[in-house]
Amino acid sequence: MKVEVDGGTVEILPLVSIFCIVMGCIGVILNTDYLDKIIMLEFLTGGLIGLIVSFYYLDVAILTSIMEPVSTVILLLGSLKYLYLKRSKKRYSSKLPILVK
């Protein structure tokens, strides 16, 4: 359960969670693609739930892990629709081409 490091006790779960949170945070910001961002957000949320568990609040952790897919799904559907919209948009040029066609 506990690992001895330099005389103090360090628990693994909070450590992993903190690692996940920090990495996820950096990852979410640095990635620019929507899906990558959402994956990293998932990563981040995993860390959050781990931290909640290491505070011994299991009901909050369970609730969070139930609600996490909900917001993920909303984000996914939204980003999908957004991508679709961006793709199906007409692009105009500023110059009028010489009357070809």
């Binding site: 359960m1 693994i12 990558d36 994956i39 995993g46």
Partner: protein
């Protein structure tokens, strides 16, 4: 027991780094699944009570569902990009 936790911890660290570093999106999702698995195991081992098992199970189910949704969307987006 300690070694087991330590092992899972090391694995999750490595996998977490892989999630962070991998370029390929599909692979990244795979590593994320692995990481979720590790965290669920850690939760179950951290709380030495049946409730810990329940929490780990719920977390596992939830993360699997969202991974599934992400995987599905990845496929969808690839199709969209392929055609558009």
């Amino acid at each position: 027991m300690d070694t087991l936790v330590l092992l899972i911890g090391v694995i999750s660290f490595v996998v977490g780094l892989r999630v962070f570093l991998t370029r390929n999106r599909v692979q990244r999702l795979l590593y994320l699944c692995c990481l979720n698995f590790a965290i669920a195991a850690l939760i179950a081992l951290y709380i030495k009570s049946p409730m810990g098992g329940v929490a780990a199970a719920v977390y596992f189910i939830g993360s699997t569902l969202s991974s599934n949704a992400i995987a599905h969307t990845i496929g969808k987006v690839q199709r969209l990009e392929g055609r558009g």
